[in-house]
């Protein structure tokens, strides 16, 4: 069986003949069902239009519900009406065409010229649109002349034409009826129509005026039966009812020879209904409403916007073989794996073909059936018929298993090692969907390794994630090779790891590898064993340092040197002699100096160690390293412990006094500034008002005071406090957070200014009006540890709220920007000649990124790490 491929889609407008031809029934009655509940013939739900009730057969094609795609009907309009979507287009044509000879209003020279330009521009659509715009403008220009406003072909004087939204056209003062317009459009020659932008083959100008209205099949406007048994029709059906009613009245009136005025009124009404049938949001037209007052959703509304057909159903589709549940952490699954709860594993299946090799295995799965874990749900026979494996009929299962033969397909349960795609919304980048290997587990949550949280941006406060099962071998292979987690360790965004240690894994690594950590041989063996690491420790060694234990995880020929996060940035670096564990030396796979911290393998940062492992030793080594280090550190922390308490931010009296002094000093300085301001002694900064200068200076003074207080606090906060370890190693938080807890919060601000709004000329009623002092304008002198005064607490909340509002607004803005970026750039790809082209073949770049290098494989953005290669070769001697 060969698949049919759609090569292209040509658009056009339906001609009245085409509408009639494809119509299976001419609709004449506005009623839907008769009293017995049967559809009325020639009504809006005529049985020939398709089936919406299960069990019935289509009168046109004979297919059943779900198979029959539905068939169009049509309504003969008593009088032609304007197609609202083309109202403006009709105006353009009327302007550009003579009312007498029906030629386009360009002289023969111009016609030739533009016809040629149009032909030349055909290759690129953008160009063509430009030429069409020029033609329309040129053709309409003669009408605007005060003198010589005559047709270049027949010489008749051209009247002015006005367009009154939404669907009225005036010639001088005469109103043009749709019939008049249609008569004119009919006489435009094919060549002229082409100049006006039409493709006369598929879209004659007169087809913009409707004489027959297509009626969509019932399958697109199904009625729903309410619990009470009453039927509720679709909005489109309601609209069609309106059209038919008015259409009928109009015809009757015309036939009866009713006065012109009445006919015209009804015609107008018909126009309104047809307009709103197409689009119920046309400006200038009151939207049609349901009896309840709800605005109807008609054709355009069905297609448009986020919830419209295009974005909701065509660009994004619902899928089978997917699951969604809450996620929870599990350090014991590999970063490549995902823990799948067994109820999910028994619902999701993978089709596996029966071969001589797999037959016995699959038979046993069929025997186990759908309700035991490694089982199967369906078998598919060679003729394509599906058979459900029964859960409680062992005999039948046995016969089905016997029946299994080569060529059958078994839909078996998800098992350990299967490849699945795992996703968390919002899917902001490609790392939001990665391929994991299944590990079936008890309970009901998806389990994932903590190292993969950063790319998904996941945490475990109730987050849910989705899982998809690729069904074909091709899809599975592709997912495994391209999308597997270990292949994504290095981010394409900046060429550094996005998957790596987080939080306690960083502080744990520090505790393990800092100078002075020691373990007995028993402890080491226990740790390695419980962490599931098969490492040889048979050396005769009773006391192990942490660095030695860590070295067990490194490849034996690894050589790295770097300054780590806890490096104190001394003026002269002693490098290998660093007394603070700040300079890491790994030689021949042995960690000799320095402590492992955020600089080594923290996700989303420059990480020297992990980066090196992945780039030089391959992703496999990188994955193994992450898997084992995380398990090891879990046991290190189990033995050494890590915790945070209030004492972590408690300073001794001496420090508190010093901080107080600094802050008091700062406030005094502010007071002095204010005094100077009031006395008119303050010098304004260039280009700023006095007030701005004062504000800026106060902010500076207070920021300096806070910083100084923070520095003092930092002096007293040593590495023996766990919270300091966390901040300094880069595990979580930073020193600023700690100084806010220990010393002083500092200035609160909204929009970069001190707080000053709230009451009249003051921030809170606790202060005098127009008071400028530090305390009244949101300077929080207390620390979290000491506790905030009521006013300070309120100021803090003010500053905090700005952050919240900011986040909410930002998400919306950046989301839209990303959507636009995606839409503009998604068709660009690298060709075999390494040029970047769009889908029309237009070259955007002759060499991707000027050197053709893939950012995800680059060395921090550089093509090749030349230094390292030279270094390597020179060392080799």
């Amino acid at each position: 069986m060969s698949l049919k491929v759609i090569k292209e889609i040509k658009f056009g407008i339906l001609s009245p003949e085409a509408i009639r031809k494809m119509s299976v029934v001419k609709i004449v009655t506005a009623d839907t069902y008769d009293d017995e509940g049967y559809p009325i013939e020639k009504g809006l739900v005529d049985p020939r239009l398709g089936v919406i009730d299960p069990g019935l057969k289509c009168r046109t094609c004979g297919m059943r519900f779900g198979e029959c795609p539905g068939h169009f009907g049509h309504i003969e309009l008593a009088r032609p009406v304007i197609h609202m979507g083309y109202a403006k287009e009709i105006y353009k044509v009327l302007k550009g065409v003579c009312h007498n000879c029906h030629r386009v209003l360009l002289d023969n020279e111009e016609i030739k010229k533009y016809a040629r330009r149009l032909k030349e521009a055909r290759v690129r659509d953008v160009e063509k649109q430009k030429v069409l715009k020029i033609i329309a403008k040129q053709a309409a220009r003669r009408r605007r002349y005060t003198k010589n406003n005559i047709c270049p072909h027949c010489g008749v004087e051209l009247p002015r034409i006005r367009f009154e939204k939404p669907t009225t056209y005036m010639e001088n003062t005469e109103k043009l009826s749709p019939s008049d317009i249609r008569a004119r459009l009919e006489k435009i020659s094919a060549e002229d129509a082409e100049l006006l932008g039409f493709d006369p083959e598929v879209a004659r100008p007169e087809w913009l005026i409707l004489t027959a209205l297509p009626v969509a099949p019932v399958t697109v406007r199904p009625s729903i039966t309410l619990e009470s048994g009453a039927r509720s029709e679709d909005d489109m059906t309601h609209k069609l009812v309106d059209i038919i009613r008015i259409n009928q009245r109009l015809r009757e009136n015309i036939d009866a020879g009713a006065p012109q005025l009445i006919v015209e009124d009804l015609w107008e009404l018909l126009q309104y209904h047809v307009t709103t049938y197409f689009d119920n949001e046309v400006s200038g037209v009151p939207p049609a409403r349901h009896r309840s007052g709800r605005v109807l959703k008609t054709l355009a509304q069905r297609l448009k916007g986020k919830e419209g057909r295009f974005r909701n159903n065509l660009s994004g589709k619902r899928v089978d073989f997917s699951a969604r549940t809450v996620i929870s952490p599990d350090p014991n699954v590999s970063i490549n794996e995902v823990g799948v709860p067994s109820p999910v594993a028994m619902e999701l299946t993978i089709p596996e073909r029966v071969t001589y090799k797999t037959r016995d295995e699959l038979r046993s799965l069929v025997l186990r059936g759908p309700s035991q874990h490694p089982g199967a749900n369906y078998i598919i026979r060679t003729d394509g018929r599906r058979k459900r494996i029964p859960a409680n009929d062992e005999e039948l299962r046995k016969t089905l298993a016997e029946e299994l033969d080569v060529g059958y397909v078994v839909e078996r349960h998800l098992q350990d090692g299967d490849v699945v795609l795992f996703n968390r919304q919002p899917s902001l980048h490609r790392l939001s969907i990665m391929a994991h290997e299944v590990r079936v587990m008890p309970y009901r949550t998806f389990r994932l390794n903590l190292c993969v949280c950063p790319p998904y941006n996941a945490d475990f406060d109730g987050d849910e994630m989705n899982l998809h099962v690729p069904q074909t071998e091709e899809a599975q292979a592709e997912a495994l090779i391209l999308m597997r987690v270990q292949e994504q360790i290095i981010s394409p965004r900046y060429g550094e790891p996005v998957i790596g240690g987080v939080q306690d894994y960083i502080s744990g690594a520090y505790i393990l590898t800092r100078e002075g950590t020691e373990f007995s041989r028993r402890e080491v063996e226990e740790m390695l064993c419980m962490a599931g690491l098969g490492v040889e420790t048979s050396q005769d060694k009773e006391i192990w340092t942490g660095k030695e234990v860590f070295s067990l995880l490194l490849p034996p020929d690894l050589n790295v040197e770097y300054k780590n996060k806890i490096c104190r940035r001394c003026t002269t670096c002693k490098e290998k002699e660093c007394p603070y564990d700040g300079y890491v030396v790994i030689k021949d796979g042995k960690l000799l100096k320095g402590a492992i911290d955020g600089m080594a393998y923290k996700a989303r940062s420059e990480c020297k160690l992990l980066d090196k492992l992945v780039k030089d030793y391959g992703t496999d080594t990188g994955r193994k390293f992450l898997d084992s280090i995380t398990r090891l550190i879990l046991w290190v922390l189990g033995m050494k412990g890590i915790t945070v308490d209030m004492n972590d931010v408690e300073l001794d009296q001496d420090a508190k006094d010093r901080i107080d002094e600094v802050l008091q000093d700062g406030e005094n300085k502010v007071d002095k500034l204010i005094e100077a301001y009031h006395n008119g002694e303050l010098e304004p900064l260039p280009g700023q008002s006095l007030e701005e200068t004062l504000e800026k200076k106060i902010m500076q003074v207070l920021a300096a005071a806070r910083d100084r207080a923070g520095q003092i606090a930092e002096e007293y906060l040593g590495m023996e406090r766990f919270s300091v370890i966390m901040a300094k190693t880069g595990a979580k938080g930073n020193m600023l957070d700690l100084t806010q807890m220990a010393a002083c919060l500092g200035q609160m601000s909204v929009r970069g200014e001190r707080l000053h709004r709230g009451y009249n000329n003051r921030s809170l009623s606790h202060f005098k009006e127009n008071e400028l002092s530090a305390r009244s304008r949101g300077f929080v002198r207390s620390s979290y540890n000491k506790g905030l005064s009521p006013t300070e607490f309120f100021f803090h909340a003010m500053g905090g709220r700005e952050g919240l509002v900011d986040t909410a607004v930002r998400t919306a803005q950046s989301g839209y920007m990303q959507r636009r970026l995606m839409n503009a750039m998604q068709d660009l790809k690298v060709e075999y000649d390494r040029t970047v082209r769009d889908n029309t073949g237009l070259v955007i770049q002759f060499m991707y990124g000027e050197d053709g290098v893939d950012p995800a494989r680059s060395d921090y953005g550089k093509a090749v790490d030349i230094d390292w290669i030279i270094h390597k070769h020179m060392e080799a001697v």
Binding site: Q688, R820, N839, G861
Partner: protein, 370 residues
């Protein structure tokens, strides 16, 4: 094997020479190094079919959520406000006619760049000064129907403008009766209506005394051992005419203006520089290659085009892709009228009709070995 690009070649030569200086290398060593560099380079090349556009869009868009929204920040010179963060990126990507905070960085030629006095003089020439800037007040005297302009002597002195100059300039605005008394000038436009007087006052206030019109301020600052002028407001053509201005380095943050004055290649570089600087300022790390691709896409036609329905997305070849993006119905109707053909070779179109997309592994067919 693809040969090394120039940038890598240059770096390699330089580093080899440097290494050779430290320790002599043998020819075979050098050959081995070159060989490995070439191999390594070929290993890190992009794969054909790689959807680099999508990756670039994601890489630029994803950090958007982490950016600050606060529009104004102080950068470069503390006194000049510059739009930063997400709003700035959106502004660049939208290719707005005028950025919300146009700023020029004017570099000076040798002889000017290290002389504070001379630099200051150039800055004064750049800074646009109006009567309002040097006046203490401009008051409408409604009883006598005239205008009283009181000038500020310090500001005049600072700007080195004499009262006579001002009177001369004001004469050009409208030749009316003027009486000068010290630092006060009284203008009497004669018998006019209140409306007219108000309009006249407006014109007097905005009378350009010197400098470049749209530039509100020009500040000098010492940077890397030379004086650089930062301006609020941007007008490259006028600044380029001034003596002492280094036209090769002077620049603005208005990409459209750069395009107009310096051409499309300069505009491309400006887009890259502006986006990169904005991201760097926020501490966000994004590969230049992604930004380069975006800039190249925006400037392929020789004219900077915005991302979005008025630019690149609106000019796409596929009708379905355009309809799926924004203004759905208009695109469909237009396509019907013109009898357009969608040749279905983009991503969105193929998603819509349910066929494999022509990027990545979709570019090739899989042939199984039997």
């Amino acid at each position: 094997m693809k040969p090394l690009p120039l940038s890598v070649k240059e770096e390699l030569t330089e580093k080899l020479l440097e290494a050779n200086k430290k320790r002599n290398m043998t020819v075979s060593q050098i050959d081995a190094i070159i060989q490995e560099v070439v191999e390594e380079y070929n290993r890190v090349l992009v794969d054909p079919g790689e959807p680099v556009g999508t990756v670039a869009a994601q890489s630029i868009g994803e950090p958007g959520t982490q950016m600050t929204l606060s529009t104004f920040h102080y950068a470069g010179v503390a006194e000049i406000n510059v739009t930063l963060g997400l709003p700035r990126i959106i502004e660049i990507v939208d290719m707005r006619r005028k950025p919300s905070t146009p700023v020029m960085t004017v570099f000076l030629e040798d002889g000017y760049s290290n002389d504070r006095e001379k630099a200051l003089r150039v800055a004064r020439l750049i800074e646009g000064t109006t009567v309002e800037n040097v006046a203490r007040s401009v008051i409408m005297d409604v009883i006598n129907m005239n205008l009283v302009v009181t000038l500020d002597e310090y500001k005049l002195d600072d700007q080195k403008i004499s009262i006579d100059d001002i009177i001369k300039k004001l004469k050009k605005v409208k030749n009316v009766e003027m009486t000068q008394d010290g630092y006060t000038i009284i203008l009497n436009p004669g018998d006019v209506s209140l409306m007219k007087l108000r309009k006249f006052a407006m014109r007097v206030r905005n009378t350009q005394l010197k400098g470049i019109k749209k530039i509100k301020r020009a500040l000098i600052r010492k940077e890397n051992g030379e004086y650089v002028i930062y301006t609020e407001g941007s007008k490259l053509t006028d600044v380029f005419k001034l003596e002492g201005v280094d036209t090769t380095r002077t620049t603005t943050n208005d990409v459209r203006e750069i395009h107009k004055v310096l051409g499309i290649e300069a505009a491309r570089n400006a887009i890259i520089k502006e986006i990169k600087e904005t991201l760097d300022e926020q501490g966000l790390d994004v590969e230049v290659r992604h930004i380069m691709l975006l800039a190249d896409l925006m400037t392929v036609d020789g004219e900077p085009k915005p991302i979005g329905r008025h630019g690149i997305s609106g000019e796409k070849s596929s009708i379905l892709a355009r309809a799926a993006f924004e203004v759905t119905t208009r695109h469909l109707l237009e396509a019907g009228k013109q009898g357009m053909v969608d040749s279905l070779n983009g991503v969105t179109e193929n998603v819509i009709i349910g066929q494999p997309i022509p990027v990545g592994t979709g570019t090739v067919e899989l042939v199984m070995k039997r």
